[in-house]
Symmetry: D2
Subunit: 301 residues, 4 copies
Amino acid sequence: MLNSKWFLEVSTPKEVNLHALEGVLYSSVSKYQKVEILKLASFGTALVLDGKIQSAEYDEFIYHEALIQPALITSTDPKKVLIAGGGEGASVRETLKHPSIQSVSMVDLDKEVVDICKKHLTSWHQGAFDDSKVDVYYEDARGFIKESTDTFDVIILDLPEPEETGPAVNLYTSDFYEEVFEKLGPDGIVVTQATSVAVNNIGTYTTIFNSLKSVFPLVRGYWVSVPSFYTPWGFVFASKGADPLLLDKNTIGKKIAALTKKLRFYDHETHNGIFSLPKYLREAIDKETRINTDASPISFY
Amino acid sequence: MLNSKWFLEVSTPKEVNLHALEGVLYSSVSKYQKVEILKLASFGTALVLDGKIQSAEYDEFIYHEALIQPALITSTDPKKVLIAGGGEGASVRETLKHPSIQSVSMVDLDKEVVDICKKHLTSWHQGAFDDSKVDVYYEDARGFIKESTDTFDVIILDLPEPEETGPAVNLYTSDFYEEVFEKLGPDGIVVTQATSVAVNNIGTYTTIFNSLKSVFPLVRGYWVSVPSFYTPWGFVFASKGADPLLLDKNTIGKKIAALTKKLRFYDHETHNGIFSLPKYLREAIDKETRINTDASPISFY
Amino acid sequence: MLNSKWFLEVSTPKEVNLHALEGVLYSSVSKYQKVEILKLASFGTALVLDGKIQSAEYDEFIYHEALIQPALITSTDPKKVLIAGGGEGASVRETLKHPSIQSVSMVDLDKEVVDICKKHLTSWHQGAFDDSKVDVYYEDARGFIKESTDTFDVIILDLPEPEETGPAVNLYTSDFYEEVFEKLGPDGIVVTQATSVAVNNIGTYTTIFNSLKSVFPLVRGYWVSVPSFYTPWGFVFASKGADPLLLDKNTIGKKIAALTKKLRFYDHETHNGIFSLPKYLREAIDKETRINTDASPISFY
Amino acid sequence: MLNSKWFLEVSTPKEVNLHALEGVLYSSVSKYQKVEILKLASFGTALVLDGKIQSAEYDEFIYHEALIQPALITSTDPKKVLIAGGGEGASVRETLKHPSIQSVSMVDLDKEVVDICKKHLTSWHQGAFDDSKVDVYYEDARGFIKESTDTFDVIILDLPEPEETGPAVNLYTSDFYEEVFEKLGPDGIVVTQATSVAVNNIGTYTTIFNSLKSVFPLVRGYWVSVPSFYTPWGFVFASKGADPLLLDKNTIGKKIAALTKKLRFYDHETHNGIFSLPKYLREAIDKETRINTDASPISFY
């Protein structure tokens, strides 16, 4: 007998996934989006925004370690970090593992989502929101960055996908990346989540990569497999010079040993794996010529 | 308006996927299984056996290069190759790219499937079945290997998953791997496809790994992301001593340059990526103690 | 944006329905079956057993009035009623509307289901279980009827479908109907729910009809449309002589006027409608020759 | 193992149905809509427009006899019939069974659909399009009726549902019904298909009923169950005086006996059944006060 209750996720108009649903922990509509906390048979508790899984209990550690650790391990001595998005609090959690951190600023548009995550996703944030080094701002990330008088060692872009009608469409343009560049310190690093790198759907990733490359002197792609996302997931690392490919086993090992809490996904071998892109992906990046700009936004879907 | 025609794939009792269906190229029931050739909006033409995608036009190159090339590149001078399963002919295609090859024996239970693939999946096999070096046998792979008087340089196990009621349940046991060991030459290598390595569903992979380790002196795990599989996919490489981790960039580059046809997925950087397992996967392999045997088969699902 | 949460109902292996799911009020597995109380967007609260809707808030009145009222209105002076199945309590509720009723015996296999219904389906039973005329027995209906020393004016069979592996398979045989016949008074009536009467799936209904006809002198078919069932639904009325087709408008009107509570579905015009079967259904009944017996049970699915 | 290929029908945003798909006979996009001819396991060949079943092989006889026969049997001597919509040709087929018919005018917007039906749905039209009494016009039905200089004995409205953005939204208004009234002869009858009469979704039907009642002196509702529609289906009959409720068994029997071809669904008992509405439906009709007009169209969904 097939399960009776399902969470239906319209991944694309051509791919629809049904996840067996064990319970509904929360469901409402915030000012910006539909917010659900669902208990899924395969992936545990999951945060679902506008019908799409943002992260899930069993594998969020893969996504969040991959989003945060390569940048913070590559950074020589990260003190000030800005996180755009990341309402679950897991990006803040990963950042706080680094003993050098002095302040984490998190900017998320939707206070309701953050409040719900604080309540329901305790295994994600693990109390990170209560740390005195952490300040949370509820506003548009682009405006916040533009008006900030601070500079940051690392900026993390943990944003919704660049859908034309979505709230994050102008957070993937070269114009925005220039504004990010200006607020980074001399050794500054930015990492953005960068959607799927599936071979049949690779153009969004390569355009984000290329748009960062039009602004930053050093850009590196990497990727992971987060099972609940159902598709290989890309990130782009960009910096004023710091290069994750120059890190050796020893350096990574020492830095990880100094962390205040353990990692489950990331270490030296993982680092080598995720920065070694398959041939077709490197070729697609090399061939990409599009740059996403405010004036000529690219329609990805 | 959502698409009207869908291919529904019950990946597990807890995960069901709908793929937009553009057309039905073939559909029937063979002596052993339901056989369909479907045209999917996201993945192109796909071979579907008993309701599960075996391989799809847009990404089969990832799966088949990953299955074949690490073993054949690692092998010093592969002349005789045995492929168990692999009805699409793409494993044979990849094998024939190596100029040293003198014979390829393919053993597949289901002649009907092979005949249908010959007709409908020309971009898979690319005429490989017509090569005079290739012999195809329609019988049970285990029996064939046991009774074979030949020895092989490389044996490829491209088999259905080890479901308890499926035809391949006894093709993942240490008893079978011992029979394989006996038919390998002194530098022999075996590679098996080894199901999902998703963090929430990792026990089948680690048991296959451990069962090979109980027989072979050298065992290495590697993995890829095949988008149409929806989950990261594992392979296990086992040998009498040959080690893919010892290959350097130069050696891999020279061997690839000597191939008679190009590769799209595999090269030195890809090789490094796929053999660099994430930390949680290495830990799961290390902790695994189960061995799958004929006498005490493990129930994976 | 399509709804995210769905109740998936496998109506047949060829028809699967997704109902938007607003909440999960109860979910567990009893000794006999999976029991769920779900809140459905289209039909309100619903009782779901083993993945199939039993009755739903918005239209259960159609099903239960149709199940109970034709028999009780046709019966001259019904005093003692037996209901087999009917855990929701709505069949008891409808029965108690008749002022002549002196006792209602309800026999349901699954005490857990009845307890859950008492708690969650108050708009169904409306306190009927508390009425002093009502006795509930938790046992197999066939055994209960066989061993009963009582006789009844009306017996209502509100049972699961006659699936081969289901608990009700032997509650649709002529042998059982003979046992029912023996426990009916001289003017006795039995009504059974009798599955779909859809033109493409009509054989179960006509066989149940014919099996009753092999035992009872008078048999009448009728049917209703219960939207949450997605298919026209059949009932069979059988008696030792009482005939619903002989009731005139006046008689029905007077009897309804005497009820202690109102009806929403059933009245004289409804009565005429539901007993007027479409031509193809009457022809299918006339052509049916099968009789379902304990010794030669008919495989309906 | 669940079927692999499915036709997914979004009946409403809250109800989605999956029908096992055996084959795709035709699929394209016409000037007006997506047109598919699908082979469904449960219902045989089906015409699907914009993702919704229009009629299906196994039960189209119910829908088309119900649409045509009550009007033509009630009409004293029908000679000239106009059918708006009805691209399958089955409405024409039913009309031509009446020996008194001298001309049938069919008006359908989409010539491509009619051409596809002519080719693929031969069991629907049974050659009706070739009858010399039949003329087919490819244009908007409302314009055709307004500009027609003819009068008709019976007008049949076999139209898409009155969705706000659909092509038929203004073919359910009282303004249109006035234009229809003017083109009917002194004993004229109009019948329209009138969407679902499910108790949880009854407002569209009652508004169509009431809109006709604002124009015609005599209006009668009736309904049938067409299994492939998954919901009870309503029709409204309106006339300048002719009344189907006054027909007796004898009259209906004689008229049916005179038809040139047999009926499977409709006869005297069926007639009584379909015109006997359940109590809640009559009450809903009585309570309805809305009238759908060109100036103030009612939003049904």
